[in-house]
């Protein structure tokens, strides 16, 4: 079996029924998809299969043999965040961070599919994702801001070495 993960092709040795989540985390060492429930109930393992969000814990790897997989590692780096990553950072949408990978992947797919700023449609897109920390408001704010183009991409909003932390936050709600 073969998988292309974040643009890199891999030969897969795991048994065909192994959940994709295990293949990514244990065989390939890609750890952003998290083990939250292993039964489809939380969304912390969500990755993209050919651009569409799927629960990695529910997919037998043989079912996606040959597919293009994108994980959070494949979106943006600390030096060049993607707009949705910037939005999550600026809006404090990641607290403990455990749900964040799945949330960001689902939100990214929502934006790529032309999703708008409306609360209801964002809720529908993220309905399968549980967050126990934020209370969701900040997550909805972040996705809405990204959908409305209110975040500049590549904005790191991170103190540089020797720099003081910015007190004024660009793009953050007043």
């Amino acid at each position: 079996m073969k998988l292309t993960v974040n643009g890199v092709e891999h030969e897969i040795e795991s048994a065909p029924l192994t959940p994709l989540l295990y293949v990514l985390r244990e065989e390939l060492g890609i750890t952003s998809p998290k083990v939250g429930c292993q039964q489809g109930g939380c969304g912390s393992c969500t990755i993209l299969v050919s651009g569409e969000p799927r629960r990695a814990c529910l997919l037998a790897v043989a079912a996606v043999d040959g597919s293009e997989i994108t994980t959070l590692e494949g979106l943006g780096t600390a030096e060049a965040l993607s707009p949705i990553q910037t939005a999550f950072h600026q809006h404090y949408a990641a607290q403990c961070g455990f749900c964040t990978s799945g949330m960001v992947m689902a939100a990214h797919a929502y934006l790529e599919n032309g999703g708008g700023t409306g609360r209801e449609s964002i809720q529908e897109a993220l309905a399968g994702h549980v967050c126990r920390c934020t209370g969701y408001v900040k997550i909805l704010d972040a996705v809405s801001a990204a959908a409305g183009g209110e975040v500049a991409s590549n904005q790191r909003w991170l103190p540089q070495p020797g720099e003081e932390a910015p007190v004024e936050v660009p793009g953050a709600p007043a």
Binding site: G29, T31, S32, K34, V35, G36, C37, Q38, Q39, G41, C42, S44, T71, L72, E73, L75, G76, T77, A78, L81, Q85, T86, F88, H89, Y92, A94, C96, G97, F98, C99, T100, S101, V104, V130, C131, R132, C133, R156, W157, L158, P159, E164, A165, P166, V167, E168, V169, A172
Partner: protein
């Protein structure tokens, strides 16, 4: 002080949004063995036989640990504070809750570990279980704990946390009405998205590196060191990255057992609970049983409160004596009541042990008190905002445990809620502040706070 009031970026924000944060489950240690536990299938039973010999001989099994392997079997979470221990790390003579760990296994992989657990021979003799905290006091209730059905070791070997303030009899004599209520909030599971997880690495220098999701790192270090009977300098904890805890990760649920297996096998070990284990076996917020009787005047002053609280500790004490103490200090809520008679018990049942959760011991009593305030207003036909404002904490008032309030916030909070809801208030209520009581707001019963707070 540049940071106060400013919106600063989270120090870990970029790591989170790029998926680069290393949670315990993300540490990659070659040669790691997988851990599984034999958990009690019964709510209450005596252990007649526990035989792990078949399991120890299985291919792929590297270590099996039972109570016999634990240097100090019982070490309570509050032992360091002089509160005696009652919970064995691994069950010895009996099991008191469904899911209680009895034996743990480290094996090559998860499947082998599970098969090894399944091969352990366990013989139990069922005992009648107790699930309702109130029934623990009934004369025909089964006794489910070695100390009896409630914790007997408060200061001076008292079997309850008690508060006496003022003169409760006088308050009840003078009351126009007695308003009673019983409040029973249920257990709540914390459901952190990251389940309990731990990775232990035995290092060449004899130390153990422990990747822990604990919420209380130094505390957990003390607990592990005590059970293992090793000095703290043998333990290197790697923590601070917690995938949600909410109180449920103060119990040091995995670290000690994982360490014992790492020591016995000489291999790195990892234990990650399944979501099912998290729901069925991890500690929860406690169920509570609270009975309140208030002596009130017909114009809404609360003269006195009698309260009985039963705090469901589950099978063992853990932090419950501490939680109940906090609860007792807050049992008048945001209000000042001069005469108090409070008795609180930490009660044992056959539920999973209960623990801290967001406002340990206080959320339950806030729920009861606020519901009760509205009940008083309803029974007396008074406005629920006015009765709250009237009895609100003021500067100079004292809490149940005798603390003098210097900056209480009840009044501004209630006024803000009234504003938000568009609730009309008479001018004398609208202009209330937290300043010391005077005039009509210093009713006779509050002069000198009747009695004093010394004798609790």
């Amino acid at each position: 002080m540049k940071a106060v009031g400013a919106r600063l970026p989270r120090y870990d924000g970029v790591a989170h949004v790029t998926g680069r944060t290393t949670f315990v489950d993300d540490a990659r240690v070659p040669g790691t063995l997988w851990v599984k536990a034999l958990r009690s299938p019964s709510h209450n039973a005596d252990i007649k036989d526990l035989d792990v010999s078949k399991t120890e001989a299985m291919k792929g099994v590297h270590a099996v640990v039972t109570w016999k392997d634990v240097p100090l079997l019982e070490y309570g979470h509050l032992s360091a504070l002089g509160i005696p221990a009652d919970e064995p790390l691994l069950a010895k003579d009996n099991v008191r809750y469904k899911g209680q760990p009895i034996a743990i296994v480290a094996a090559e992989d998860e499947e082998t570990a599970q098969a090894a657990v399944d091969a352990i021979n366990l013989d139990l003799e069922e005992q009648p279980p107790l699930f309702d905290v109130r029934k623990a006091f009934d004369s025909d209730a089964p006794v489910v704990h070695q100390w009896g059905n409630w914790y007997p070791h408060f200061e001076g070997e008292m079997d309850r946390r008690q508060i006496r303030k003022g003169s409760i009899d006088e308050a009840f004599d003078r009351a126009d009405a007695i308003v009673q209520g019983v409040y029973r909030p249920a257990a709540i599971e914390h459901v952190p998205l990251e389940t309990q997880v731990c990775q232990v690495v035995p290092e060449a220098d004899g130390r153990l590196t422990i990747y822990s999701c604990t919420q209380a790192l130094y505390f957990s270090m003390g607990v592990v060191a005590a059970h293992l009977q090793v000095p703290l300098n043998r333990l290197k904890f790697v923590g601070g990255t917690v995938g949600g805890g909410f109180g449920g990760k103060v119990d040091t649920a995995t670290e000690t057992m994982c360490s014992l297996l790492a020591l016995k096998s000489g291999r790195p070990t990892k234990w990650r609970w399944t979501r099912e284990e998290e729901f069925l076996c991890s500690s929860t917020r406690a169920p509570w049983h609270m009975e309140i009787a208030d002596a009130v005047t017909k114009d809404g002053w609360i003269l006195g409160r009698k309260m009985l609280t039963l705090h469901d500790s589950g099978a063992y004490s853990r932090f419950s004596p501490y939680g109940l103490t906090k609860h007792s200090f807050h049992h008048t809520g945001a209000y000042t009541i001069p005469n108090l008679h409070f008795d609180g018990y930490v009660v044992y049942t056959n539920r999973v042990p209960t623990t801290a959760m967001r406002g340990f011991g206080v959320t339950s009593v806030s729920f009861a008190v606020e519901t009760h305030m509205s009940r008083i207003a309803k029974e007396l036909g008074l406005d629920p905002f006015e009765i709250r404002l009237k009895n609100a904490n003021r500067k100079g008032d004292t809490s149940p445990n005798g603390i003098v309030y210097t900056d209480p916030s009840t009044i501004p909070t209630i006024l803000a809620v009234a504003d938000e809801l568009g609730h009309e208030l008479p001018a004398d209520y609208r202009t209330m502040s937290s300043e010391k009581r005077e005039g009509e707001l210093l009713p006779e019963h509050l002069v000198g706070q009747i009695g004093n707070s010394e004798d609790h």
